[in-house]
Point group: C4
């Protein structure tokens, strides 16, 4: 079987035959493999021991991903559209740093360039399309995203006011060095994360903190309520009984138990 350009495009861009699925699965393993190597390479002790092996594997992955990138650009009907798409840029960012490391001599800058290579993990997002069951969650979240955005806006306003208030009350001597830092602290507190890197030291500051905490504890109910209601509504839609269409007038929301069409009055039995 001669491999034509058309056949290659068929394999690279998802379709349902044997060769294309194999291509996808191999790519999947390559992505996971390159992520794993990036993660292990970031651990200083492992890097000291297996640095050379990691270096070789990085180049193997880089060359394979380069081949994939060139193929995608060459085979795409609109190469420019692919190059400037989100995944196109991610695919480029996944290979560029390795090549850049040739031209960089300064070791400080080299470390930054090497680190950029780690952004390859974003490619994992591409795997989303393999999970068909994720759709139900996505639909529920998308339907309630508008309400969640308003909620986030409300949270940001509280954070702004509370961060300013705590900056005035506690001041730089207790770690609240600026309003942005106060806002960071307010988010840490409102979301009930509570790192403890900055904590209120004055009685008034502790009182205001208590109010923020109780507020954060109470309003977490809001996004939960939004998503729960949305999911219940979507499930109800799926559970709803099949409706019958009138053979005479075409009215399409009759109940199976109806004897006569509610619109034209014809007998359905």
């Amino acid at each position: 079987m001669k491999i034509t350009k058309k056949r290659l495009a068929h394999i690279v861009f998802e379709s349902d035959d044997w060769a294309s699925k194999t291509f996808d699965i191999v790519l999947l393993f390559l992505i996971f493999g390159s992520i794993l190597i990036s993660i292990l390479d970031s651990v200083a002790s492992l890097r000291a021991a297996y640095g050379d092996l990691f270096w070789w594997l990085e180049w193997v992955f880089t060359i394979l991903f380069t081949v994939e990138y060139v193929l995608r650009v060459w085979l795409s009907r609109k190469p420019r559209g692919y190059i400037f798409s989100f995944y196109g840029l991610v695919d480029l960012l996944a290979i560029l740093p390795s090549y850049l490391s040739f031209f960089v001599v300064n070791s400080q800058l080299l470390a930054v360039v090497r680190a950029l290579r780690l952004l390859r993990v974003i490619r994992i997002l591409k795997l989303g399309r393999y999970v068909s069951e994720a759709e139900y969650l996505q639909r529920s979240l998308r339907a309630s995203s508008h309400k969640i955005m308003i909620f986030i806006g409300f949270v940001v306003t509280i954070v702004l006011i509370m961060g300013t208030l705590m900056f005035i009350i506690e001041g730089p001597e207790h770690g609240f060095t600026s309003i942005p830092v106060g806002m960071y602290w307010a988010i840490v507190t409102l979301t009930t994360v509570g790192f403890g890197d900055i904590t209120p030291a004055t009685p008034l500051g502790q009182f205001v903190s208590s109010i923020i905490m109780l507020l954060g504890y109470a309003i977490i109910a809001v996004p939960t309520g939004i998503v729960s209601t949305e999911m219940a509504s979507q499930r109800k839609k799926a559970d709803r009984p099949k409706l019958v269409t009138c053979p005479n007038c075409g009215k399409d929301d009759l109940k199976p138990a109806d004897n006569f069409c509610g619109n034209c009055g014809i007998s359905l039995r």
Copy 2:
């Protein structure tokens, strides 16, 4: 077009024509701009670099907000009502500190006065009226606010008892210097924030803490349940179509658009 007082009032107080909307949008940008400057000015390093620029911008905002404030007082039908309203006081607080800084010589006091200017962020709350979709959330929260207040009361009681108990058990030597501090710690713990600035050191204290934490983990379900139920109820109300009853057979779930009863076939028109 000559600008009369009546025309100005029309523009300043929200209405739907072109000029009034432009006024609102300009005001919105001014509020965001003044907040941004206040935030940046609070960062010591930025203040050192751009302090003069911030000082000039602050005065530009102060003068524009002063013009707006004077206009609102002058154009309002009940000036006294506006001045002593919540937003009237906020508008005044947004400009007063800048003028006060002229008369204050003591640098310590000046810092406090400058800080007060940051309370201008409260004006952001005024933006709430631009978001019509926030109403659904507000209605759900208002409908369940009574139950949430009782829940907060219940939480405060637990906090009072647990704060006292931990003050007795752990005592000042482990950071629980007074009952208010114990209550602050109990809120930090019950809301699952957990700063870690004060932590139990005795086995008994750790045991009581564990109970508070499990309690806080379990009762977070209560506000969530309240809000979820309320939202589901409000959505059901909105989704429910008005139903018509058949005057012949009494079937009570006919749709308003039906021409004939789906059960007995009688004409409904």
Copy 3:
């Protein structure tokens, strides 16, 4: 009006007339006042400044509560029943420490006795009966308490296993000095409180911690789901339409729109 013993009992034990309500409200203020004094007295700086005032107020409250206690014992139909009831013991504990402080000379012990007086805050629980709206929440919680207990049992089992595991992995050198301490840490982590007083230091410990955290983050959905479902169910019960009783056979669950009784066939119109 002469005050008889019967009349006094009427006032002291809750009833609906003017005198009894006044008695309740005065008692309420006394409880709040004594709690406030106890809280303020625990703050070292306030105690240094107003210690004498607090001492006098404490004795005023003690004497008034003693009068109330004696009245309740004297007026109760079953004095022994009251004395050994939960609130009877709390009422006694609220006054006993003040008297005990006469007989204690050792200053160390005196501090403990004084601290015991703070347990008076438990009396605040008595206020619960003034809040009729709390019933809905209580009913929902009681109906789901069985499921919540099983959930808590499940959480305790996880805590036991994870606490032991972390004690083995991290050991005393990283703060996990014993299994009970490991269990305390597991509760702190699973409930997402996260004090940070004890944290995993080994990679394996951090990996196991990550699993506990994700578990805690996911299973918080369980109590929330239980309470939400229970509340929705209780609300649905309240919303359900009124049912009609058949005048012939007494069947009591007919719908208002029914034309004939579903049981005996008699016409309902």
Copy 4:
């Protein structure tokens, strides 16, 4: 009554008669007792005081559990199946370390072997079968486990990306020594645990942290929504009464106990 092998198997493997239930209850107390001793033995101060007593009790439990293990292997129809089953291995692990401690001389290794004995707590999982009410929770969780797995996958992806990002932004000098550590921190933050052992120090790091926290605060709604919806659906299924359709007029919501159709009055018997 002579105890045959068949009779013993009847007692050891759960059945409903008197002897078998007694065996189960005794075993239950032995498991709880051995766990309690293991826990107390891990506390250094208690071990110093009562170490000998704990040693004797450990051996009593070890011998009893050994007898139980031997009985189970001997009485089981498929001894090999039991030995290599999960609970078979746990039962073996519960007794093996005690015997191993005879052959180990090195005190360092001995401590590890002793610690292994603590894994006996896993046996507590066996108690699960005594709680019949746990089934409702299990069914709800199993029905929604697929969606929860996808959610966990989504969370892990966010953790991977955010951990890498924070490793690049903050770097080893602020505690983010490697990508795995960054991922551990991302989990600590996203789940709102917030130990505070590693915290962002740069403004950009604090900004990214704030986004992770708000994300974690918002998406906790997802598992809660999934479980709530699933539970509501399961409860509705249980609450729904079976309905009967009238053979004459087609009314489809008659109760099984009705004798006559509530709509047309025809006899249903």
